[in-house]
Amino acid sequence: MDFNDTPEEAAFRAEARAFLQANAETKAGARPVLRQSGIDAEGVKRCKAWQAKKADAGFAGLTWPKRYGGREASPILQVIYNQEEEDFVVPRGLYEIGLGMCIPTMMTYAKPEQLDRYVKPALRGEEVWCQLFSEPAGGSDLAALRTRAERDGDDWIINGQKIWTSGAHLSDFGIIVVRTDPNVPKHEGLTFFFLDMKSPGIEIRPIHQMSGARHFNEVFFTDVRVPDSQRLGAVGQGWRVSLTTLMNERLAVGDVQRPDVDDLIELTRKMRIDGKPAIQDGAARERIAEWYAQSQGLKFTRFRTMTALSRGETPGPENSIHKLVNASKLQDIASYGIDLMGANGLVVEDELAEAYAMFQAALLSSPSARIAGGSDEILRNIIAERVLGLPADIRADKGIPFNKVPTGRR
């Protein structure tokens, strides 16, 4: 065993680090970036400038074909770049979905001339993409979506509603899965498209989240015209295309969220229990130890995945473990840290709150981490069914035409 890079990996790591050092500020000592609120116009500008710089230097789309500005690099180099970028303050939050999910789906299903048109501008951050999947009636049961598309000559006409669309209001294009045939069982009646988010008939309304932020949107479609040439995959094959998109989610390395265990240790030095620093309290020490062991376990699980990647293997559904563990850990550390503060744990004013109020921010944002991108429950199902090989649940909608499936009162 060793943790050494191969010569090629080491050279790339040095190159990435040199680029980051020349162009970004290191995180050490910097105030933690809290994603309390959505991205404002200023933030969009910063994201765009950074993405262009990154693409011009050849660090965007590392694994992509060279003709679209990539390097055709092994996925391990992407992981190495992400590791290095972790140490720097860089603007985030605008391109993860587009570059991580939308464009990879396009690359599997779009025509070459479409790729020539769309990939480079996406890579340079000139055009932003969003993913229109979830609906009020289709969350964990995504295939229960109800937005309709009907054929009209060379076009399709879309009516319905999407929800939880990150960055829809900032996006130029989107990928969408819709129902084109309600008379067949639910997975069989779906079709996949990409569309212009500025098309007439699209209305975007931000969702005011419980955390106070407005990061997600509802997107309403009224007679929105999409040319058939923008269909990805065959009519009725939309579910299969969606799975391609979701597979790409797995390789994405999530941000290390704050507060982490080190933040908690820092806090327990300052807070007091029975007149002594909380870090001397047995109960606090047990919890720190447990969370530290979890964090390290995830870190070394990632090292094992990197080893597999290095050998050319593809990580599978076992990667679901990261978000499943991290989301709850974040919520629990936030809640416990606040408890240590006593009544002042309620206070989120900048000058009065402990630790830049990051524990409070995480308390309010962490419920979303346990739901978005596959809820805890769905991730457990994935592990149970796809890793451990347990049988799928018995479904009440199996083999039934979608328009005959019970829907409750709604």
């Binding site: 065993m1 020490r285 047990e286 530290y292 376990g297 070394f300 592990i383 090989g389 018995i394």
Partner: protein, 367 residues
């Protein structure tokens, strides 16, 4: 990045798994459980012949020289079948103490006999209730003679030699080596009869000092053993998850396999998550042992905390997945439930290692 065992060691693991599946089925474990034998002596002889006990012992002392990663791989397989043999006591504790703290003469005298299985070792630390601390040690050595009572001592009833933690003439705890042939001892009934446990009463027993280290040497020994024990725990937890999964596929209720119910799926997913975290931390421990890394102690405490949690969770939820049948003597779930507690309590229990882990973090962060 090469964070995995080598192909050679994976081959060793597969061989060990096949061998133990054949030679150490539950029927063998149950002979110890039901008191028909103190331990699986025949299996022990075979293990000795194959060189497993001396996996990490250097070849010059009769070992196989496979290194610590080799010993880790074997530990996982021993744990997987809850083998009723004094492997941990002999290989991770007695041999390690002699190898890391002993003199060349002591190594040359004892390690070859340990490596071939002819000498069984044990580690006498506890003196009744409580986790190990320097002040918990009352056994003392005066003029090369040890007096004091040690219990419970894993494999104390079957061992030939003991590595004993006792205080020297200056009341400083350290490591001593005792021949057990003249020592009064009796077996103790425990939660896990598949591992021998005894009380040892030393009455001016002749001992030799192992090195000059004090409590630090004891703690170093515990750290190294914690990593190896973590692999046994990971092996045990993996076996529990497999058992639970197999049962969830084969058992039908309400006209369907119980593994199709989310209540069971989520339980098994949680067992899987705990196991993977523990496995990854144990791997890091294996690397730290092999590389004698500066953060070996922290790696050990982390591996120990994770593995103890994973085996506890897996062994209890395996019973729960089985339902009533899992609570019977005849079904093997309880072998793992018992062993999970045995492994959790030996060399310091959960709170001891969590406290140590945070101690080490504080030291690291202060540096």
């Amino acid at each position: 990045m090469n964070f995995d065992f080598s192909d050679d060691l994976k081959q060793l693991r597969d061989q060990a798994r096949r061998f133990l599946a054949e030679q150490c089925p539950p029927a063998v474990v149950r002979r110890s459980l039901e008191g028909q034998e103190q331990f699986a002596a025949e299996l022990w002889r075979e293990i000795g012949k194959m060189g497993w006990i001396g996996a990490a012992i250097p070849e010059q002392y009769g070992g196989a020289g496979l290194g610590y990663e080799g010993l880790c791989v074997l530990a996982e397989e021993i744990g997987r079948v809850v083998a009723p043999v004094p492997f941990a006591s002999t290989a991770y504790l007695a041999a390690e103490a002699i190898q890391t703290a002993g003199s060349d003469a002591q190594r040359a005298e004892f390690l070859p006999r340990i490596a071939d299985g002819s000498t069984i070792g044990c580690f006498a630390l506890a003196e009744g209730s409580g986790n190990p601390t320097p002040s918990s040690i009352h056994a003392k050595v005066i003029g090369g003679r040890l007096t004091g009572a040690k219990w419970p001592v894993a494999d104390g009833g079957i061992a030939d030699i003991a590595v004993v933690v006792a205080c020297d003439e200056h009341r400083q705890p350290g490591l001593f080596l005792a021949d057990l042939s003249g020592v009064r001892r009796h077996d103790l009934q425990t939660l896990d009869p598949t591992r021998n446990h005894a009380r040892l009463d030393f009455e001016a027993a002749p001992v030799q000092r192992l090195g000059s280290g004090g409590w630090g040497a004891v703690q170093r020994l515990l750290d190294r053993a914690a990593i190896l024990l973590a692999f046994e725990q990971v092996g045990g937890a993996d076996a529990c998850l497999q058992m639970a999964r197999d049962y969830a596929l084969e058992r039908y209720a309400f006209g369907r396999p119980i593994g199709s119910f989310q209540a069971i799926k989520h339980k098994l997913a949680d067992m899987y998550v705990a196991l993977e975290l523990a496995r990854s931390n144990a791997y890091y421990g294996a690397w730290a042992l092999g590389a004698d890394a500066t953060d070996l102690s922290l790696a050990a405490a982390t591996a120990r905390v994770s593995a103890t949690e994973a085996f506890h969770l897996a062994s209890k939820e395996n019973i729960q997945t089985h339902g009533g049948i899992g609570f019977t003597w005849a079904v093997d779930c309880h072998l793992f439930y018992r062993r999970s507690k045995q492994l959790a309590l030996t060399i310091g229990s959960g709170p001891f290692w969590k406290d140590r882990l945070v101690d080490l973090l504080e030291t690291r962060n202060a540096a």
